[in-house]
């Protein structure tokens, strides 16, 4: 049997999911103990258990509790949910557009979200309180997605390379736009740079809640439409003849992928390539079935981004912006996939 057999024949890869879940939980615990103030994993577990049960931890300094529960854990969990959310968005975009190079970053959706958020900041829009930035990010992301799709479509068809080229062009224009906003908004330069480079510094439990809600929602939708997405890989006519409403499914999933991207960008800035790398790795291990690919990518995306954030937070001598780190790793990976695809087509 080939390595690409999927759940249809082999069953759901529960063991692999269990391995990923255990790795993620272990990583959260280990990462929470890492940093300027080193705390042992058992103490971290005590603090987390106490935090969730609303009790004080006996025998540990208050600073330990504060550092783990109020400072590190919100950052760590936000990083994990953003990683998971972006990876699921990548799965959705790749499956809908039948394009293995599509992800929120290469499609320009992340830049659109960041532009929307920055624009709101510049004109001081805060009509909906803490939801204002995510909403503006969503508006920016949706608009960008439609512009990119419009730019890339010729005779109603989307070419793989044309789509990515359109995404890169629109993202470049938007980055220049963000740069211009930065120029206009002297006092808030720091915040705008944050959106350009991405960061998990100073995250709160509200950020955890927002990214968790968006990520889990996207995962649930991806699971619900998993088999339809598989069938859509056979093309429009075939999937329609198999009873899949491709046009409706496409719209729902595009909005869903954009929503989770916008929430992630609103909370953590532009973090590229997680949505590209993770589905690829998981597809290599599990095969293309979206019903196992989506949950596996969610968990693996969380693990990858958490590792990257832990490296920049607790291992490197000074903090490198997370978006820079993921781009440094993801950029060459993108080149590899692009080259491989070109060879396959040639």
């Amino acid at each position: 049997m080939s390595g690409n057999q999927s759940v249809m024949k082999r069953g759901v890869p529960w063991l692999f999911f269990l391995f990923l879940t255990a790795s993620l939980v272990g990583l959260v615990v280990v990462s929470s103990g890492m940093g300027y103030l080193a705390i042992s994993p058992s103490q971290v577990v005590d603090i987390i258990v106490a935090g969730f049960s609303g009790q004080d931890v006996a025998g540990l300094p208050d600073t330990f509790g504060y550092v783990v529960w109020d400072v590190r854990l919100p950052r760590i969990l936000t990083a994990a949910f953003v990683g998971g959310g972006l990876a699921v968005a990548g799965v959705l975009f790749q499956a809908i557009l039948l394009n293995p190079l599509a992800d929120p970053y290469t499609l320009g959706v992340s830049s659109g979200a960041a532009f929307g958020a920055c624009l709101g900041l510049l004109v001081n829009l805060s009509f909906l309180g803490s939801c204002s930035v995510p909403l503006l990010a969503f508006s920016g992301a949706v608009t960008t997605l439609f512009v990119v799709l419009w730019l890339a479509s010729v005779d109603g068809r989307l070419g793989t390379n044309t789509l990515i080229l359109s995404g890169v062009i629109v993202a470049a224009i938007l980055s220049a736009g963000i740069g211009f906003i930065k120029h206009l908004a002297d006092e808030q330069v720091g915040v705008i740079i944050f959106w350009l480079m991405g960061s998990f510094a100073s995250k709160t439990w509200l950020d955890v809640a927002m990214t968790a809600a968006a990520g889990c929602f996207a995962l649930a939708v991806a699971l619900f439409y998993g088999r339809d997405l598989n069938i859509m890989a056979l093309g429009h006519r075939t999937s329609e003849s198999l009873g899949v409403d491709t046009s409706r499914t496409r719209k729902i999933l595009l909005v869903c992928g954009t929503l989770v991207t916008a929430t992630c960008v609103a909370v953590s800035g532009i973090i590229g390539f997680i949505g590209l790398i993770t589905p690829h790795l998981m597809r290599f291990i599990l095969g293309p079935d979206n019903r196992s690919l989506a949950p596996a990518s969610f968990l693996a995306g969380a693990i990858l981004l958490l590792i990257a954030d832990t490296i920049t937070r607790a291992v490197l001598p000074s903090e490198v912006p997370i978006g820079v780190l993921t781009a440094l790793i993801g950029g060459p990976f993108f080149c590899y996939i692009f080259r491989k695809k070109q060879q396959e087509q040639g």
């Binding site: 690409n4 057999q5 999927s6 249809m8 394009n99 056979l234 329609e240 009873g243 079935d289 396959e344």
Partner: protein, 261 residues
């Protein structure tokens, strides 16, 4: 028994009429051929029959009920399509692609049961792709892909099968195999087939009735020996020919004047 009826159906894209006032009836257990030159509207008519397109005027009725009244999944249990082109976005295995034919029968969060797996295996064996079962479809040749998609449509197990130049990429051996498998189902299981075909001899050998399309209208309809005659073929395709019964092929056949004088 009438399975599908096309009633005064017209279809146009903005500024261009593709089909005009088409009416036809498909009976259960018959093999129909749809012939015509390139751009005569064959694919559009098939897409209208399967509900992928909505007619501008007129309608399509399945079991006497208008097509839009059928939920999509129910419609997918009534008719299957073998398209002219097939591309797979990701490297699903051949088995997985053929199993997708069972999608209309499996609940959203359900798994295929023994019957589904048996039907899939039988479809793969009938078309001769069982030995490719574990290969990724992206690694197959054009002809192999075409056979996989035919097996997928057969696994859908529907009363009506729509073939849109389904054997365009195939050699004569595999073309013959697919048409014989389908014809057997027409005879034994009363399946109805409508196939857009370019090869006139193939149509003459397999079809119980032929619809000849010209300029978006039905130019002629009937038995192969009445329709595939020199005058009509010249009118539709602009090519001279001789026709008649051929003992060796066991059917009415067309000899085309290939060389242009």
């Amino acid at each position: 028994m009438t399975l599908l009826e096309v009633d005064h159906l017209s279809f146009h894209y903005p500024g261009r009429e593709v089909l005009h006032e088409i009416s036809l009836v498909l009976e259960s257990g018959k093999f129909y051929g749809l012939l015509g030159s390139n751009g005569s509207g064959k694919t559009t008519l098939l897409d209208l029959m399967i509900g992928n397109l909505r007619p501008t005027n007129g309608g399509v009725f399945l079991h006497g009920k208008p097509l839009p009244s059928y939920p999509r999944r129910k419609l997918a249990r009534e008719m299957a399509l073998i398209p002219q082109e097939f591309r797979a976005g990701f490297d699903f295995s051949v088995f997985e692609v053929v199993l997708m034919g069972r999608h209309p029968y499996i609940p959203r969060f359900g798994a295929p049961d023994e019957d589904d797996l048996t039907i899939v295996q039988e479809a793969m064996e009938a078309i001769g792709v069982a030995e490719l079962a574990d290969r990724p479809v992206t690694a197959l040749s054009g002809g192999e892909k075409q056979r996989v998609i035919a097996a997928r449509a057969l696994a859908q197990n529907t009363p009506l099968l729509i073939m849109d130049e389904a054997t365009a990429n195939l050699d004569v051996l595999h073309t013959r195999q697919i048409f014989n498998v389908v014809k057997k189902r027409v005879k034994k299981e009363s399946m109805t087939v409508i196939a857009a075909i370019h090869n006139l001899n193939q149509a003459a050998a397999f079809c119980d009735e032929i619809f000849l399309l010209k300029g978006g209208k039905i130019f002629a309809r009937g038995l192969a020996e009445d329709i595939l005659v020199p005058e009509k073929i010249f009118d539709v395709f602009g090519v001279r020919c001789r026709t008649g019964w051929n003992e060796f092929s066991g059917s009415h056949q067309v000899s085309l004047q290939w060389k242009m004088s």
